[in-house]
């Protein structure tokens, strides 16, 4: 038993409270506390990944109670990979300038950074826990934090957040119900334990209901088509930093939970009952890819366009999961990593533009390429990655997904992935064209525009460089980390 798993979550929760206390006294310092907490957690996560790759799985029993009685936290290849992704993005968001992150510097008395820490803590907890109910607890922690953080943008955000709250709570409720059924049927809440008990009670209708409920609940959280309807509003109205975390990390943590449940917990059960949930998820993903990409095209609001784009990207991940083949899963996991970097870069660019010029809608972005060269350069890199142009990261995750689909002989999926690249090109090049080729319309905001200050620009540039770098070193990630993940799940 090793303390490493809990050492990743603890700084986040601990510093959430410290930041809250310090914030009462001095607002600015709460952000520094948050930065400190995330840095510690990130260091622990990096150490965790290294340890898992060299030594092996690490487990921690909360309170010393061994499973199946106690709550267990597990660092295996998948969870250490995911926790590193979550905390990387979390780090960049936390160091991002608050004025750009939240549309305005947080007003006195609003514990923005503590809530952000709770959000990150909840996400990390979902990733690292090995207990079904504990997953629900952390799920709710981060959901509640996110509902609150979305509302910082004003009235419309309030409505969007409320809708998200209703649907998110339903999702959590479904998940909980499913866990309840599992508990009644197996008597255990520990994931590994349940996985070993399930083969013996394959045909139990309670388990079938549990599978359905859990998959649906997590699909809502993941915004898998057609259960995505809360996403466009929530992400377009959320403050840019929050939207960055939601779109790039929260969605993927939900996808992680789905992977964990389907491939780890239920896998033996599937084998003996031959449910075809995999193909349902893959087809829903394919539909989501086309739907999200197509609906992003007519959007005028930049963040709304990115939100619909996210629906499409979630489809890729779902397609990879549903392919039920090693290459497909590698593609999905690589896309989780790549999308986290690309999408957060894009949302932080949106924040930077809003901060510097107050502009939100694409038609008004004319001529910004000249005025904000570095920001727009980062945007172009991220956009090319979303379209899937090599050697950026996005090309490689799509490549593995295509290979996985070809391997499974599923030509429809191949066509969907390829066509969606073209659809993505339409709306991203629409912005690129506007930014670089159209002369500024003369609005005072455009004329005065220049690159935002380094506190805004630094995270954007590092993320964009990461998008390019991740593409070039994708083989290292695949062979060292992802293949281990796939081996442990198949």
């Amino acid at each position: 038993m090793s303390a490493l798993p809990i050492l990743i979550i603890l700084p986040l929760l601990f510093f959430a409270f410290i930041a809250a206390l310090v914030g009462i006294w001095h607002q600015r310092l709460s952000r520094y506390m948050a930065v400190l907490g995330v840095t510690l957690a990130l260091a622990a996560a990096a150490q965790g990944l290294l340890t898992v790759l060299t030594v092996g799985e690490q487990r921690y029993f909360l309170g010393g109670w061994p499973p199946p009685f106690g709550i267990e936290y597990v660092l295996d290849p998948l969870s250490s990979f995911m926790s590193l992704v979550v905390l990387c993005i979390g780090f960049f968001v936390v160091i991002y300038e608050p004025g750009a992150a939240f549309y305005q510097a947080p007003r006195k008395g609003i514990p923005v950074y503590p809530l952000l820490m709770l959000l990150l803590g909840g996400l990390t907890g979902v990733v690292l826990t090995g207990d079904l109910f504990n997953l629900f607890v952390f799920l709710e922690i981060y959901s509640l934090a996110s509902y609150t953080l979305i509302t910082l943008s004003g009235k419309r955000a309030l409505v969007a957040s409320f809708r998200y709250l209703i649907l998110g709570t339903i999702a959590g409720g479904f998940y909980l119900l499913g866990v309840g059924f599992i508990y009644f049927a197996t008597g255990s809440l520990n994931m590994a334990d349940v996985a070993s008990i399930l083969p013996g009670i394959c045909t139990s209708p309670a388990i079938m209901a549990a599978v359905a409920l859990i998959v649906i609940g997590l699909s809502i959280k993941m915004a898998l088509f057609p259960l995505h309807i809360w996403l466009p509003d929530a992400h377009s109205y959320a403050p840019p930093a929050i939207a960055a975390i939601l779109a790039s990390v929260q969605i993927e943590v939900a996808a992680y939970a789905l992977v964990r449940m389907m491939l780890d917990v239920f896998q033996p059960y599937y084998l003996c009952n031959m449910l075809s949930i995999n193909s349902v998820i893959a087809w829903a993903g394919a539909a989501g890819i086309l739907f999200g990409s197509a609906l992003a095209i007519p959007q005028r609001d930049f963040k709304r366009m990115l939100a619909y784009s996210t629906v499409g990207q979630v489809g890729y991940i779902a397609l990879g999961i549903g392919l039920a083949s090693p290459l497909g899963l590698i593609g999905a996991l690589l896309h989780i990593l790549n999308h986290a970097f690309m999408k957060s870069c894009l949302f932080l660019v949106a924040g930077g533009i809003r901060y510097q010029t107050g502009l939100r809608e694409i038609p008004w972005f004319a001529g910004l390429g000249r005025r904000m060269p570095l920001t727009m350069a980062a945007f172009v890199v991220a956009a090319l990655s979303m379209i899937g142009i090599p050697p950026t990261a996005g090309f490689f995750s799509k490549w593995y997904l295509i290979l996985g689909s070809v391997d499974s002989g599923n030509w429809v999926f191949v066509t969907v992935i390829l066509v969606s690249s073209l659809l993505n090109a339409v709306y991203f090049f629409g912005v690129i064209e506007r930014v670089y080729a159209k002369p500024p319309a003369g609005y005072p905001e455009e004329v005065k525009a220049k690159d935002p200050p380094i506190s805004v620009l630094a995270p954007i540039l590092v993320l964009a460089a990461g998008v390019l770098g991740l593409g070039l070193i994708n083989v290292v990630i695949v062979t060292r980390v992802l293949e281990l993940v796939v081996a442990s799940l198949y």
Binding site: L384, I387, I389, P390, P391, F395, F396, W399, Y400, I402, L403, V406, D407, V414, L418, V419, S421, L422, A425, F429, E433, Y436, A437, K438, P439, L472, N474, V475, V478, T479
Partner: protein
């Protein structure tokens, strides 16, 4: 095939990438900025030239960079086919850069930094395409080329340019997507994507899969190679500045497309295999139709650049025809045409650009009598036109000769006829311009003289080069030997 480790292929690709960075940083000092371009061009050509001796001996410099996907690495290798393309592209870039300097300064154009740095990145991608040793590396550089050329197509930022840019992207990205599918299927079928002379796919894959692959390659490469009906982005892309049209749309981008055909037909699938599944006939048919239709359409274009665009479409299909006929001579002819056509067409575009900068005329009908004021320019135009029509001693005759011989050899005389007819049509729509320029009178041009030396010297050089390539096909970089060697290896079974 003998290969040895060498950093030169990588250096050739990276030189202009480095230059692009330096160009962006020197935006405020135009003279320094332009000197980066010229320096990079000379260095790049030098590096490519340095690899020529060993390639001629059959020893190919190769460098494996790093794994870019499971089981596939980024590998750059200067082989015979690649060096033909690389030599022509890098040499002509030097001339095109000189021309660009004259053109851009003559027009006091905007956003010159973006122009020159995009150009440099494009050349990096082009050399990367030339030296790719496997299909994945190829596709990566191919897609980079598409994106890197976009800023150049929309450079003028007029409505026409932006619309041309959109059309450009639609066509070329669709092609890229088809190519990606072909790549995935190739990897799935063969387990690897390394180029091998004579092809590495066999009938084992099944006719259905091979046909699917063929169609995907046809669409993927046919877009850049402007094979009809996938050609219409090319005339629209004439909205780009003339040096862009000259280098990219006569030498680099479109030649990357026909180069892709050569790679796919010679190094992935093999002519024998393609012949068996009937793919060669389909390709040759499309190419032949393109040649004739494009030549006919060229007549109806009054805009000089558009006329040259259709001419390019026709001539690209000469090369496609060359690799679609089951004969080594046709291959030789086609590959030689890559270089010959490049030299001749770039001359024509340079002339069009010189005329535009000096007189702001774009239409053929407005060019009466311009020969008297710009004799060197129109003289060069005439030389290149003669060559494109296939009249000796200019280079176009040599490549056409081998193409025609190859067609006869393979028993497909219809293509010999098509080549002859097209020669006549070429003479018609090009020499009529020359005729207008020298033999018709008008008072429009009394104020003008030749364009600046930055533009005049390159076009004279390329015109002279076209003639020299016709008189001494093997003297310059052993073009003939290289092409023949590629043909031999593709048909003879391996290098």
């Amino acid at each position: 095939m003998e290969t040895y480790y060498s950093i030169l292929p990588l250096a050739a690709v990276l030189v202009s990438l480095l230059a692009a960075g330096l160009i962006t940083l020197s935006g405020r000092r135009p003279n320094i900025r332009e000197s980066w371009t010229l320096l990079a061009g000379v260095v790049k050509f030098g590096i490519v030239l340095a690899m020529l001796p060993s390639v001629l001996q059959g020893r190919f410099p190769e460098i494996t960079l790093f794994a870019i996907s499971q089981g596939i690495s980024l590998v750059l290798r200067a082989d015979t086919l690649g060096i033909i393309f690389a030599l022509s592209a890098s040499f002509l870039w030097i001339l095109a850069s000189c021309f660009s300097i004259g053109y851009e300064r003559g027009l006091s154009d905007h956003k010159q930094t973006r122009y020159f740095s995009s150009f440099a990145i494009c050349l990096s991608a082009t050399i990367g395409i030339a030296f790719s040793a496997n299909l994945l590396t190829f596709v990566i550089f191919y897609e980079i080329l598409t994106i890197a050329t976009y800023p150049l197509v929309i450079h003028k930022e007029t409505k026409e340019a932006i619309a041309a840019g959109r059309k450009y992207l639609v066509y070329l990205l669709t092609g890229g997507v088809a190519l990606l599918a072909a790549l995935a299927l190739t990897f799935h079928t063969a387990g690897g994507t390394d180029f091998k002379a004579g092809g590495f796919l066999t009938m084992e894959a099944g006719t259905g899969m091979l046909m699917a692959l063929f169609i995907l390659f046809l669409v993927g490469f046919g877009m850049k190679a402007a094979v009809m009906p996938l050609h219409s982005w090319l005339p629209s892309a004439m909205a780009a500045p003339t040096p862009v049209s000259a280098l990219l749309h006569a030498v680099a981008v479109v030649k990357a497309g026909v180069f892709g055909f050569a790679r796919a037909f010679g190094f992935v699938m093999g002519p024998a295999l393609l012949g068996e599944i009937g793919a060669l006939n389909i390709t040759a048919g499309l190419a032949g139709a393109t040649i004739i239709i494009a030549s006919l359409l060229a007549f109806s274009q009054d805009n000089l650049k558009k006329r040259l665009a259709y001419s390019t479409i026709g001539h690209l299909s000469y090369i496609v025809l060359g690799v679609a006929i089951l004969s080594p001579q046709a291959w030789s002819g086609g590959l030689m045409h890559i270089v010959n056509h490049a030299a001749m067409k770039i001359t024509l575009f340079f002339c069009a650009g010189a005329i535009y900068v000096t007189t702001h005329r774009e239409k053929v009908s407005e060019l009466n009598g311009i020969g008297r004021r710009m004799p060197f320019t129109m003289g060069a135009f005439a030389l290149a036109a003669i060559g494109l029509a296939g009249i000796p001693p200019v280079g176009g005759f040599v490549s056409k000769w081998y193409l025609a011989l190859g067609a006869l050899d393979a028993g497909q005389t219809v293509y010999t006829v098509i080549l002859l007819v097209s020669g006549l049509l070429n003479a018609g729509y090009l020499l009529s311009v020359v005729g207008r320029a020298f033999f018709m009178k008008s008072d429009n041009f009394t104020k003008f003289g030749e364009a600046s030396l930055w533009m005049l010297v390159p076009l004279v050089i390329t015109a002279v080069l076209s003639v020299l390539l016709g008189l001494f096909p093997d003297r310059f970089f052993h073009l003939y030997s290289l092409s023949a060697e590629v043909a031999r290896s593709v048909f003879g079974g391996g290098l």
